[in-house]
Structure formats: C-alpha cells, structure tokens
Amino acid sequence: MPPPPSSRSRRLFLRAAFALGAIGGTAAALLPVLRADPREAGPPPTEAAGPPAEPAEPIERAELFDEMYGGRHIQGTDAGVRIDGRPLHVMRRADGSYLSVVNHYESFPTALATARAAVDDLGGAQLSLAGPASH
C-alpha cells in the first residue's frame, strides 16, 4: 500500500522540487523564490535518453510560485502544488518533467507549467479536497 496521499505527495514534490531548479528557462524567467534542502533529494534523475526540451544540470534550488492564472489561484509550495488551495497531485518523469492527475498523458517542464495546464484542462472544475485516493 502506498503511504497516505498527503505525505506521499509532499515527499514527491520535495524530491521533485529539488531536482527541478535545473529544468527551466521559463522557471528562471519567473524569478522563483529559491530554497534548498538536499536531505529531501531522491536519487538523481535518470539520464534522459529521449529528447527533453531543456538541459538538466545539478542545481540546489526549487521553484516556488504563487499567481493567478485563468482566474484560478495556483501555488507551488513546499507542501506541493495547489489550485485554489486544493492539492494537485503531481508525478515526475525520468527526464525531470511533471505530470499531474489532470494530465496523465503529457508532461510539462516545470511545476508551474503543470499547474497552468491543469487549470486549462479543468474547465472551471474544483479539485477534490481529499485528492485522489490511490495517489
């Protein structure tokens, strides 16, 4: 059985956030608040044999964000990604990109891009407060 969703999401996000800073042009341009906690880092991401859009290089910082997008409040916090205060479950790919529970069949270079894409695809729907049971 997987651990309860909140701790699992949090762990995944922290690990993801640590590996992330690296990933992106867009993230850097948005001047994210930077923080680091190397103890939370998982194993290094698998070398991407496919062609990810951005080069990955080790960097000890994470992307946090807080903005209005499409009329929704999106946040990347050290507790995970939220839309209107509700948890958006995110997962990582081996190339460092993200999927969310709303988009399982494409991926996005940053947590911010993932949150924005989820807003686009939610069509105004609210995430459940509990989050998906099995994630």
């Binding site: 995944l12 993801a16 998982g42 194993p43 991401p45 698998t46 070398e47 991407a48 044999a49 496919g50 062609p51 990810p52 859009a53 479950h89 997962m91 990582r92 790919r93 081996a94 190339d95 460092g96 999927l99 529970v101 709303v102 988009n103 399982h104 069949y105 494409e106 991926s107 686009d120 695809d121 939610l122 069509g123 105004g124 729907a125 609210q126 995430l127 459940s128 509990a130 989050g131 998906p132 049971a133 099995s134 994630h135």
Partner: protein
C-alpha cells in the same frame, strides 16, 4: 472464441448491447473498480518501484490483460458482448459515428466540458463520476483541445511506430530513445502540437477524464486500448522475428531492476507474465 470488431462496423443492436452492459457493470459498482485499478497502477518513471502499466515494456501486455478482465466482467452480464476497437487514424473527427447519440455520445459543451448526449451523459442518470479527484460528477470531453487545437494521430505517425523493428529499449521507460512500445505509447519529443504521439495523443485529443488518471471513466478508453492492442498484433506480424524485451530479468546493477518487467516476471495485480499475453489468439480475435 469471440471477435472484437471495428466500432464503425457495429450494428445498432451491437452498439446497444455494449452500452447496456457497460451501464450495468457501472450500476453494480464493478466498473469503478476498474477505474481505481488503472489509477493505482499508473506509476511514473521518475518514481522508484515497479512500473507495470505505463512508461514500461509491460504497457502492452498489462493493458491486454486489463482489457481482457474488463471484457470478461462484461461477459458475465451478457456473454455475447465484446469490446470494439476505435481506429483513430480513420475515424478521426468528432463527426464519426462512434460519438453519436446511440453509442458513446459526443463532445462536451463549451461552458464546462460536460457531455450532454448519449447514455453516458450525466443527465441520463446512469453515469455519475465520483472518484475523489475532482468535485464534478459528470463525464467531460474536449475534442481536439479547443484552446490550442491538435489532431488525432495520422497514419504516417502511426507508421513511424509500426516501422520500428525493436520492441523496446533501455532504459525501458518514457525516455527510451527507440522501440515500438514507447513510440506507440507516445512519450517522445517534438513541438507542443506533435510531441504526444499515438496512444498518448488520443488521450490528449479526447480530453476530460480521458486525459487524466481516471481515464477509464470514459468508455472510449476501452475502444482506444483495444485498437492499441490490435496494433501490437499488426506489429508482430510486420516484425515476425522481434520479441518482447527485456527477455531476461534485469541484472543487479541495472537501474531499472525491480522497475521494468521482463518477459517472464509477473505483472501485478494478476501475477500474469508478459509471456502469457504475447498472443491473444486462443482468447479472442479481431475482425481485421
């Protein structure tokens, strides 16, 4: 032995039989168990642990077994029912009969994406979605992603996958640089409009629940995956010497050991091995 047919060739009686049986499975609560199972086994390759269903060589045998279990559940209700397939390279517009009132219903409305036609429309009263992911309870579709339009995969794009002579390749995940499995599953690079290929692009094109973790909430999931299953057959015919890979359990120093399933390792939750799913010919056939 039963036959899985191209959805475009179904008689209206066959469509009705399929729809009615799916609704009955839903009424019994069994349908939602299949949805939960899909969510449970969707593990991505950025995480540790066994990946049985996606981003892995066992993507094809896992879904073959999953569809077979679903079809058997339908057949316990009506022994004559089979899962049809949707060839999205041919029936590639919202006008396809697949989406008509008497079969799966059509696109979602623009305001909230809600499907309002056919037997799976929320308003018809038999298809309530309650899975703890979103608060909305209705089936949603957004054909072709209206905010930034994309098309269904073309025959050429599919041929690009079918021409690949190797089944799968290290690192056996969504970054595998070659291999039929990843090209068909669709985790490959490109521009925003092209990078989600074949199987993934179809999920993207339909939108709504089909795009998310709970994709099987949309009954088109089964028709889509039945075609993917048929494509595996066609690929085997085209490359008769090719085998499932990896053929052996990955070695102790392989980073994918314990994550990617080789041909004779069991796939959860059934403990079926890929080697038992390499051919379906003793179980069912396709009409093409």
């Amino acid at each position: 032995m039963h036959i899985r047919k191209n959805q475009r060739n179904l008689t209206s009686a066959e469509k009705k039989r399929f729809v009615t049986t799916v609704l009955e499975l839903k009424r019994q609560g069994r349908y939602d168990e299949f949805v939960r199972q899909h969510v449970q086994y969707y593990r991505t390759d950025g995480d540790a642990g066994l990946r049985a269903a996606h981003m892995a060589p066992s993507f094809l045998p896992w879904h073959r077994k999953y569809l077979l279990e679903f079809e058997r559940a339908l057949q316990r209700i009506d022994p004559k029912v089979t899962v049809p397939y949707w060839d999205w390279t041919t029936d590639n517009t919202p006008a396809a009969s697949l989406w008509s009132e008497d079969f799966l219903g059509g696109d979602g409305r623009s305001s909230d994406g809600q499907v309002t036609t056919g037997a799976f429309a929320y308003g018809a009263g038999n298809w309530t979605i309650n899975d703890g992911v979103l608060e909305r309870k209705f089936l949603v579709r957004a054909f072709g992603r209206p905010t930034s339009p994309i098309a269904l995969p073309t025959k050429d794009e599919l041929a690009w996958a079918m021409d690949e002579s190797v089944y799968d390749a290290a690192p056996w995940d969504s970054t595998a640089p070659r291999g039929f499995r990843n090209r068909l599953e669709g985790w490959t690079a490109g521009s925003d409009r092209t990078r989600w290929r074949n199987h993934n692009r179809v999920h993207r094109w339909v939108g709504g629940q089909m795009l998310g973790a709970t994709a099987p909430h949309d009954p088109v999931f089964w028709l889509h995956h039945a075609f993917v299953d048929l494509l595996w057959d066609r690929w085997q015919k085209k490359h008769p010497k090719a085998t499932y890979l990896p053929q052996r359990r990955l070695g102790g120093d392989d980073p994918q050991r314990g994550q990617a399933i080789s041909v004779d390792e069991p796939m959860p939750p059934w403990r079926t091995k890929p080697s038992e799913m390499l051919s379906h010919r003793s179980l069912y056939r396709y009409d093409a």
